[in-house]
Amino acid sequence: MEITKVLPDDCISLIISLTSPRDACRMALLSHAFNSIADSNAVWQMFLPLDYIHIISNSSSPPSLLSLPKKDLYFTLCYHPVLTHNGDMKFQLEKESGKKWYMVGARALSIQWVDTPRHWTWISLPDSRFCRVAKLKNVGRLEIKGKVKLNTLSSNTNYEAYFVFKLVRDRYGFRHTPVELDVSIEGTAAGEMRSVILDPPRNMPQQAKERVDGWLEIEMGEFFNGFENDRTVEFSLREDHDDQPKRGLIVQGIELRPKHKNNR
C-alpha cells in the first residue's frame, strides 16, 4: 500500500501539518508526491500563527511579504524579525515550533526617570533592531517594569523572559549589588523573585549570557500562557535597597522566548 494512493492530498497535508516544521521539511525529501505536498501552502499556513496576517500588516515589513509562499514566509519570519506595535516590539517566529517570539523594546517599558536627561538618555546603537535604546547615566534607585497582554503571545506555550542589556566600560553600581528580577501573571501569586548580579567580578560566575547579537541577556523568569489569556504578564527589574549611584547600563528590552522542548 502506498500512502499517496490511499489518502487524498488534503489528508496528507493535514497529517503533515500536525507534525512540526522540521518534520515537514524532511518530508519534502520523501518522494515526488510528498515533495509538493510537504512544501505546500496548505501545510505551512498551519505552522504560521493564526493572526499572522494581522501581525505583518501592522509591522515594519513590506506588505509584499504576504504574497510569498507560506513556507518562505515562515522562514523569513524566523530569520528576519520585524518591528510591530509602532516600532516598540520586535517579532519573529521560533523556528522549531512556529510560536511567537517577541522582544519588548526599551521604549515600551516603564523605566523610572527615563525621560529625565540627568538620569537616562536615549541613544541609537547600530546593533539593536530598535531605533533607540536607553542608557543609564545616573540613578540611585533602579526600576524597570514591563507588561505584555497574554493574548499577544502564542497560547498553550511556556515562555521564558530575558532582560537584554549591555554594560559600558564606564559603569558602576552593578558589581556587588544584586538586582531583583520578577515575572508574574497579573492576578496570580507572584513568581519566584530572582536576585542576580549583572556585572560580577571576574572570579565570580557570570549569570548573564552573551547573545549572538552581541548583547547580554539574563533570565528573569518563566510563565505559562494557557488558553484563557485575557490577562497580562508583568516583569520587573529593581534595585532599590542601597541607594548607591548606578551608571552605564544600556537597556535594549525584555525578550519573551518560547521555551524549547528538549525532546527533539
Binding site: 500500500m1 502506498e2 500512502i3 499517496t4 490511499v6 489518502l7 487524498p8 488534503d10 489528508c11 493535514l14 497529517i15 503533515i16 500536525l18 507534525t19 512540526s20 518534520d23 521539511c25 524532511r26 518530508m27 519534502a28 525529501l29 520523501l30 518522494s31 515526488h32 508526491a33 510528498f34 515533495n35 512544501d39 515594519s60 509584499s64 511579504l65 504574497s67 510569498l68 518562505d72 522562514f75 523569513t76 530569520y79 528576519h80 524579525p81 518591528l83 541609537s124 547600530p126 546593533d127 539593536s128 533592531r129 530598535f130 531605533c131 549572538v212 547579537d213 552581541g214 527533539r264
Partner: protein, 414 residues
C-alpha cells in the same frame, strides 16, 4: 435530528434504519441515529431522500469498504450518544485508534470521504505521531514510498535554506515586474530596438558573472552617494570604500552581496511623497530620457532626483577574504529588471532643494531602520558565508554610460 423529528418521518417504527451500500455491492441497514452522524449520509437522506429502503440504499464512496464502514459505525455509535463525558470520549478514542498504520490510513481516507471530520482529525493526529521525528528512510518504509527524487532534487531544499529569503522575495517581485513590463513593452514600439541592445549587454554580464559574486559599479551621483554613505555610517555590515565626493573621481560603494537586493529595493523604492511632487517634471522629460539613458539604471533617490550619469551598485566584495557566494544569479535578474523598470521613471536633474523636513525625518528613520535590519542578521550571514569555504576571486565590472561593460583586474584600485 431529534427523536421527535425521526418519529414524524417514520411514525410506524420505533427505531428507524438507513440502508447503506458499499462499493463491493453488499448492503446493510444501520440505525438511523448512528448513520446520520456522518455528514455525507445525513446529506443523502435529507437532500435526496435516499436510504429509506433496500432498493434506495445510499451508495457509499469507493474508499469505504465494509471493514472500514464497520469501524466508522462503531465510532459513530459511541459518539452520537449525547450524554457522554469528555473523559469517556477521550478514553474511547485512545483505544479506538490502536490499529496498524495501514488501517489507520484507510480509516482516514474512508472517514474523509464521509466528511466525518472528528474521526479524520483523530486518525490524522495518530498518523502524525507515528511519523514525527522519524528520518525520511524510516517514513518511506512505513508508507511504502518510492525513493523517486533525484539527488539534485533532494539538494534543492538545502540550497533554499541558505538563500536570503529577502532575495527570493525580490526575485518574485521582479518576476512579476518583468511580466508587467513585457506587457508594456509590447505596446511601445519605439524602444524595442534599444531594449534589445540592453538585453545583450546584460546577457554578457550574466554570462561573465554567472556563479560569481557580483560587480562593482562606479559613477554614483553625489546624491546617491550621500544616501548610501549614511547607511554605511549606521551599519556595521556595509563596507564603504573609495567613496569620494569630488565629482571628478568615480565613486565605488561596496555592499555585501547578500544584502544587495535589499539595498536596491530600499534605495529604489517608491516614496509616494516624492513622487507626487515630481510628477509634473517627470512627464515632461520622460521621452527625452528614455532615449538617452536606455542603458542606465535610474536611481530614485528619496530626497532628490538623480542628476547626470546614473548607475547602480552591484558590488559583492566583502572585505578581502570573505566571498559571498550566494544569490549571484538572482542579483543579475535584478539588474535586468531595473534597467527596464527605471527607464520609464527617470527624471532629469531638477534638484529639489525644498525638502519637507517631516519627510526628511521619515527618510532618516527609514535609513536607520534599514541599516539595523542589515546589522541584525549579519552574524548569521557571516557564518553562512564563512561556511562556504571556497575562495573566489572577485570580478569587477563597471557599467559605462552606454551600458557596455568594462572589466577591471582584481587588484585595480582607484
Amino acid at each position: 435530528m431529534s427523536k421527535v423529528d425521526m418519529a414524524v418521518i417514520k411514525p410506524e417504527m420505533m427505531k428507524s434504519y438507513i440502508w447503506l451500500q458499499t462499493a463491493d455491492g453488499s448492503i446493510q441497514q444501520v440505525e438511523q441515529e448512528v448513520a446520520m452522524f456522518c455528514p455525507m449520509i445525513c446529506h443523502e437522506v435529507i437532500q435526496k431522500g435516499m436510504g429509506s429502503s433496500k432498493n434506495y440504499a445510499i451508495s457509499l464512496p469507493q474508499r469505504v469498504n465494509p471493514a472500514m464502514l464497520s469501524l466508522i459505525l462503531d465510532y459513530c455509535r459511541f459518539h452520537q450518544v449525547p450524554g457522554r463525558s469528555n473523559k469517556e470520549r477521550k478514553s474511547f478514542d485512545e483505544k479506538f485508534i490502536r490499529m496498524d498504520t495501514k488501517r489507520l490510513c484507510e480509516l482516514t481516507s474512508a472517514a474523509d470521504s464521509l466528511q466525518l471530520k472528528p474521526l479524520v482529525d483523530l486518525t490524522s493526529r495518530a498518523l502524525a505521531r507515528i511519523i514525527e521525528g522519524k528520518s525520511p528512510e524510516e517514513i518511506r518504509e512505513i508508507f511504502h514510498l518510492p525513493d523517486d527524487l533525484t539527488e539534485e532534487e533532494k539538494l534543492e531544499p538545502l540550497k533554499n535554506t541558505t538563500d536570503d529569503p529577502r532575495i527570493r522575495l525580490l526575485n518574485r517581485l521582479y518576476a512579476k515586474k518583468r511580466k508587467e513590463l513585457k506587457e508594456r513593452q509590447k505596446l511601445k514600439n519605439i524602444e524595442v530596438e534599444e531594449e534589445r541592445v540592453d538585453d545583450r549587454s546584460v546577457d554578457d554580464l550574466l554570462s561573465f558573472i554567472n556563479g560569481d559574486n557580483g560587480v562593482l559599479i562606479d559613477g554614483f551621483t553625489d546624491e546617491i552617494a550621500l544616501l548610501l554613505e549614511r547607511i554605511v555610517k549606521f551599519s556595521s555590515v556595509v563596507f564603504a570604500s573609495h567613496v569620494s565626493f569630488s565629482t571628478s573621481m568615480p565613486k565605488y560603494l561596496l555592499f555585501p552581496c547578500s544584502h544587495l537586493g535589499e539595498v536596491r529595493e530600499f534605495c529604489f523604492a517608491d516614496s509616494k511623497g516624492i513622487k507626487n511632487s515630481k510628477s509634473k517634471k517627470k512627464n515632461r522629460r520622460r521621452k527625452d530620457q528614455q532615449k538617452n539613458t536606455s542603458a542606465n539604471e535610474a536611481i530614485k533617490n528619496h530626497n532628490k532626483e538623480p542628476n547626470g550619469l546614473n548607475q547602480v551598485c552591484h558590488s559583492a566584495e566583502v572585505g578581502q577574504k570573505v566571498r559571498a557566494g550566494v544569490g549571484a544569479t538572482s542579483n543579475l535578474h535584478d539588474v535586468k529588471d531595473d534597467i527596464f523598470d527605471n527607464k520609464n521613471e527617470l527624471d532629469d536633474g531638477d534638484i529639489d532643494d525644498e525638502i519637507d523636513p517631516a519627510l526628511k525625518e521619515k527618510i532618516d528613520r527609514e535609513v536607520e531602520d534599514f541599516a539595523r535590519r542589515l546589522n541584525s542578521d549579519w552574524p548569521e550571514r557571516m557564518q553562512e558565508i564563512l561556511s562556504f569555504g571556497h575562495e573566489r576571486k572577485p570580478v569587477h565590472f563597471s557599467l559605462n554610460g552606454n551600458g557596455s561593460l568594462r572589466r577591471y583586474a582584481n587588484s585595480e584600485q582607484r
